[in-house]
Subunit: 483 residues, 4 copies
Amino acid sequence: MNFGLNGMDCQGTERNWEADWRADKPREECGVFGVRGSDLDVSRITYYGLYALQHRGQESAGIAVSDGDTIKLHKNMGLVPEVFKEHHLDSLTGCMAIGHVRYSTTGASLAINAQPLVFRYAKGMLAVAHNGNLTNARELRTALANTGSIFQSTIDTEVLVNLIARYCGNSIEEAIMKLMIDVKGSYSLVVMSEDKLIGVRDPYGNRPLCLGRLEEAYVIASETCALDTVGAEFIRDIEPGEIVVVDDRGITSIRAQNSKKRTCIFEYIYFARPDSVIDGYNVNWCRRQMGRQLAREYQVDVDLVMSVPDSGTAAAKGYAEERGLPFEDGLMKNRYIGRTFIQPSQSMREIAVRLKLNPIKSVVEGKRIVLVDDSIVRGTTSSKIVKMLRDAGAREIHLCISSPPVIGSCYYGIDTSDPEELIACKMTHEEIEGHIGVDSLHHLSREGLLNVFGEGRPGFCTACFDNDYPIEIPADLRKHALD
Amino acid sequence: MNFGLNGMDCQGTERNWEADWRADKPREECGVFGVRGSDLDVSRITYYGLYALQHRGQESAGIAVSDGDTIKLHKNMGLVPEVFKEHHLDSLTGCMAIGHVRYSTTGASLAINAQPLVFRYAKGMLAVAHNGNLTNARELRTALANTGSIFQSTIDTEVLVNLIARYCGNSIEEAIMKLMIDVKGSYSLVVMSEDKLIGVRDPYGNRPLCLGRLEEAYVIASETCALDTVGAEFIRDIEPGEIVVVDDRGITSIRAQNSKKRTCIFEYIYFARPDSVIDGYNVNWCRRQMGRQLAREYQVDVDLVMSVPDSGTAAAKGYAEERGLPFEDGLMKNRYIGRTFIQPSQSMREIAVRLKLNPIKSVVEGKRIVLVDDSIVRGTTSSKIVKMLRDAGAREIHLCISSPPVIGSCYYGIDTSDPEELIACKMTHEEIEGHIGVDSLHHLSREGLLNVFGEGRPGFCTACFDNDYPIEIPADLRKHALD
Amino acid sequence: MNFGLNGMDCQGTERNWEADWRADKPREECGVFGVRGSDLDVSRITYYGLYALQHRGQESAGIAVSDGDTIKLHKNMGLVPEVFKEHHLDSLTGCMAIGHVRYSTTGASLAINAQPLVFRYAKGMLAVAHNGNLTNARELRTALANTGSIFQSTIDTEVLVNLIARYCGNSIEEAIMKLMIDVKGSYSLVVMSEDKLIGVRDPYGNRPLCLGRLEEAYVIASETCALDTVGAEFIRDIEPGEIVVVDDRGITSIRAQNSKKRTCIFEYIYFARPDSVIDGYNVNWCRRQMGRQLAREYQVDVDLVMSVPDSGTAAAKGYAEERGLPFEDGLMKNRYIGRTFIQPSQSMREIAVRLKLNPIKSVVEGKRIVLVDDSIVRGTTSSKIVKMLRDAGAREIHLCISSPPVIGSCYYGIDTSDPEELIACKMTHEEIEGHIGVDSLHHLSREGLLNVFGEGRPGFCTACFDNDYPIEIPADLRKHALD
Amino acid sequence: MNFGLNGMDCQGTERNWEADWRADKPREECGVFGVRGSDLDVSRITYYGLYALQHRGQESAGIAVSDGDTIKLHKNMGLVPEVFKEHHLDSLTGCMAIGHVRYSTTGASLAINAQPLVFRYAKGMLAVAHNGNLTNARELRTALANTGSIFQSTIDTEVLVNLIARYCGNSIEEAIMKLMIDVKGSYSLVVMSEDKLIGVRDPYGNRPLCLGRLEEAYVIASETCALDTVGAEFIRDIEPGEIVVVDDRGITSIRAQNSKKRTCIFEYIYFARPDSVIDGYNVNWCRRQMGRQLAREYQVDVDLVMSVPDSGTAAAKGYAEERGLPFEDGLMKNRYIGRTFIQPSQSMREIAVRLKLNPIKSVVEGKRIVLVDDSIVRGTTSSKIVKMLRDAGAREIHLCISSPPVIGSCYYGIDTSDPEELIACKMTHEEIEGHIGVDSLHHLSREGLLNVFGEGRPGFCTACFDNDYPIEIPADLRKHALD
């Protein structure tokens, strides 16, 4: 079945360069936010919350607001400040709101796939925002279609929403409990009926979701940085398999029995904002520790440590500290680089990387360098950066990556490319060194990575490093490397 | 149940003045178009077809195209040339297309309510465009919701689409046949699966729908003017209760047994384009005959005949001809008046009408005038025009309306306002004359109107003139005048 | 010298179809408006005034407002309602305003060429809006440049403005008087200093300009239809060579001695709005008389009279009346056709005309027809319309033009194409008949045209019909037909 | 004289938040770029060059291109990628281009004030882009106006352009030489005639300007980062008082006799991009040295060093290194914060800072901190950041500023606010400490700052720190603190 449904708005023809750049990184797909509190300007609070979560999704944004009676919605393609103008927020008045920012992993990059989804069913209205990816969506979709459901988009969320409608006999909570039995995969949800705000985290807790308090109101968000931004106090992470219901009586928690924590470790390596705290670990601190661990695992005789800004900077500092080496700013980032600009023609191809990064000759020239980055997916950007540093006179370049080689695709809401595009699936270690053009290449070991989280650490999903998938992947979904 | 679902895009704050003006006329809500033919640029043909049908709906436009495999869609708020740019049409390639232009009668004026609706169901993909209004939509919606359906918009078309999905057992034709048993009301549909183009006209043939041939291809359109524009040859009107299926084998027709023609007579009076031919009658010719009939019914001693341009012009010419009176251009219309402009403030309120119409003093001054218009709904614009003519020196103004008084609301896809807003429901004939400020007021009689169509005329829906509704109106839907 | 200065905003790539259509008509370039009155919302009044003058220019629009101290401006490419939104008018507060709508004749179609021009000179600030064309602009521009002036646009108005700055010794009135000695060509100006509103009409009165009163305030406008729209009472036309100054003391008039009325006769034939009165003649009445005169000059045995709507309609009615023939609506115009739409590809070329006009077969079929239009410039559209009527079954088509053949270019502010593009310069009468495909072609005679205006008629510029240019054309400017 | 000329496009009502944030920093106003080379895509090169200079001006952008015959221009309000789309660059073809990015210091923030200015004068066409500020612009403007010049904008560049036109007798070079005698103030210019590209740096070299080579072509830019980005090789800085002419013969240099280097030292402290090299000093290196020097001047017993990112980060690292203290990321910056977003209402005021920066509690809590920033102008943002850190549990906060207190306004092209807004003019050192809420506050000494540049250092303008203005400031321009 081909869900090639095209959406409401076609995309312009300009290239999304930031997306190109990030194509060499795994791509997170979504951030969710919800707030319930009668005396607050809930649409503006959600707007600021989404602003803080912008790094989790830059293709579309949406806010739905309930006034206790009906639910209003505005969503569109674009960044949060592009999608929402003063008059949009002014018209979204109510006592409860949920919001969503999105990258496309499944579903094309189209307005009709933007979230939240707002719909009417037998019991009234409902709004749903989803971060994650269902592994049995296709199967559920077919089953629903065979009994009369229709689908207007290609996003998994529409499957969730139809299941809720089918299970709506007693209460929304019961419908969600039943839904959690049917669906496989990763999901952090915020759901809003006319009078309830509900947060749901899948039984593996694959994606983060946390709970906070803002005066008398409650806030649910993908990351704590959104709580901080709106001035909410962190209460706790929502647990794997937990349903948190916020209504007039306060907070009620429903917990699934067979939950088993498998949080995505890439949230710590790359996705989450450095100032967020997920399941008790500050993200920036973790990255610094990964750098320290990397230094313990691998020493090479160099003059200085540098990073690929900004994603490699925390680990680079950790590496430098651990080894007592100077950390230098050898690559300067253009802070004004936007998401879109006009692509250089073939003859100016090298400009593309230089627009974003510029090596500082006086730092780099004649030096032996440890260059730290967080991960390599395809390796295309890395080789351009290395060439740029060589041109600036670097004598030796030792690339240190603060995570293990990526050898498996993610099926839980991250776009890591197909195995045949993963450089670590296609080449040997030596071939990669040659391809990227470095004197040596080193990855943090899987054990070293886990050690960062200490003895009593929770379970993580490390499938992209070891192909050990905690949640079953149907055979038809599984991507294989070319043989 | 409150279907106050808010859509994808909020509307700007500027007033739609043309809509204000037309609020004093009944408002048609939709036009549909479809074309199937493998060697054609189907998206551009649909674009031009919609352009020709623009008078039937100016709030949103959409085109869906099938390439035999998948269906692509672009739709948005705005006029056809605002919604579609070159690159949209370039990306909508295929061998079959349907299109839609829309006013809002049911469903708010929002992007999410734009058509065609494109969706995936158990048998593949489908696109539907609908002109008309279901009278039992609420009931059907509830029944569907109670068995698990969800609704993402407030338009009747989503009900049709869910019914098709429920009845999809054998073929799309059978699903439509079953749907036609369930739904009450008016509907002219174009439906597109991956490989079939289907036209459907309700058993009363309430809204027009016709079939044409363009070389080897077939075209379905609300009015013949769209066939003419794209260069298609008119074949015939689609019959009340008929389903016309266009596929690789050519044309197949399925006919309902109990059809009974009740075409909306207002299509002839006001809605349809003058150059269209509906069920054998050229619209402009009909209007001229209505004017002639009016002249036979009522004579008053005047110096000249004028019209409220453009809607009253054909009838005014007929009136003048029949009585041998001069027809003069006494009101000039600003041809550049757009849909939107900045509303005059309270102190400049009179500018609003003068922006559109300007009386020619040299024609009007000192004259006794028959002023012809096609209809009066609320009477607000009429009284402004009459005042303007008085100010320009008109000695007597006799307002002749080429249709009977509107005393009933329409439930079949036209927005005629509620009964309490209909001037003919609220005031006596004399009160209306006084309110509008004319020396006399005359409406064409119902019999006179029907006589225009001759002896062997088909059946018409004249419910808005006589409250004789051919299609049952549920009690909860019926609008009553204030007592 | 090549003034190929490119402007602030490049134009989009979509074709301006209305412009294509009108390329077969002479094109007027500008409309001007001004109002001075302290208790009025002058920016909104100017907005509505420009709306009424939109037919005189559809490429750009602008409004400048003085608050007695400083002058604020907003202008851009587009129609009046596209250029001005509520917030623009809200920020343009003051006691005096001037406005401008523009086509491009000289100067490219660019934002930098939009008017009014607002500038600061030794005596303060000034705003100028200009309708017309200077014949010695090049010479004046060179002289000014040689003594240090710079030019940021390619419009004549910048020449006027520099001359005012050079002559600013005593008063603005004196500067204008001196300027009128230097400049040759046609110009109707509205000029606004911080405290004065000034209207200027060139000594030949080539372009119209009139004066009105709105309560205590005064209004100056290109046409009376703008006075009517804003509710102003017509006082009188501004005289050829007259400077009208409106300030706190009321109205002062300064008159040039050697003025000689030569109003552009094409204003009556085609440009001006039918409801306007120019120098005492109602435009629509004139057009009807042209049709009557045409009927007196030429009779052919036909069944009916039709027009090319809307420009030929008034004359067609006159023709029909004079000969006692029926006037029929045989060509229906799509009222929703906008300025821009997507151009048909080569294979659909015929759609372009059909989008705008559709012949009514029942009217046309088997008939001998007099088809009336106001003018032919290149003849391209005419031949398409004639072909369309033939295809609809017309038996004979006799094209009657309510003006003489256009054999000369205009140098006074109208774009009539170069002589080598004028069909009447390139072909004999018989060749044109053949080219357009009509059974016969007839033009109103020059004498017949003038007779419409009666015995005591004023002087007219009829140069495009007889090459008798009232205002000298420099040799280097003169366009010649190919030999 | 009030030059309150309003421009072509009014600004929207949304607040420019980045501007608010930067209002607490001095604001640089412009960046310039030029390239001449026949085989290059000069408009795209200029586009990328401006992209690299975006930090110097974010309000408007423009590119003018010469094809040897005429000059084309596109400019508008907005960031480089907002102003220029593919089709703009496609239409700007030629062999030479100049570009400009702008903040508004003099002249309102309006489209009409965008640069480059392109104009025609007696000798042809010219384009000019200007970084800097003239101190005698008002006087020159008056003198020019008194002899007939007009001004359509409020920018100094229009004065320069009129002077060139007045001096155009022999060559453009001579005109520029004369102009340099008349004008006072700071200016780095790129000038483009149909065939020459010219770079001009004022006799004090107040603003940077450098020269590079790109294959056979020459490039002129405000900073070397723009050379690096387009792949050009740095040749040398343009000297104070130098005119560099690039034409078919290559490079010619004309030098003023009485030049005296006084480069703005704030370029090193805050404005310039860290990867640029100005007059031999790498900017990032300088900032690190300022931090080291600060550490030598002031030691306080703390646990860690932090910066206000990003402007204070280089100096903070230098401080930490010099003292052997840990440098920690205690404030995380939202990398997706755009220029515009919806302003928080009064009740959410604190969100404004938290949207941009978030303190990391685990780093800050219970710690004694040296917080490094580059400068304080008004102190408003600083006090918000300090409060945020206190709320996060910081025990002691010692604010170290890597520049001396700002006590004087800049008249040379930087917006440093009026003296009465400068916190260092209004309060004593102790009062500022109290106002900002720090335990101690320290500024780098003026001598310490200069020492960074070593023994043989060039002259700098340090007027904002010591009121020693190298270029005369007319009395009427001088801003005084309230007494």
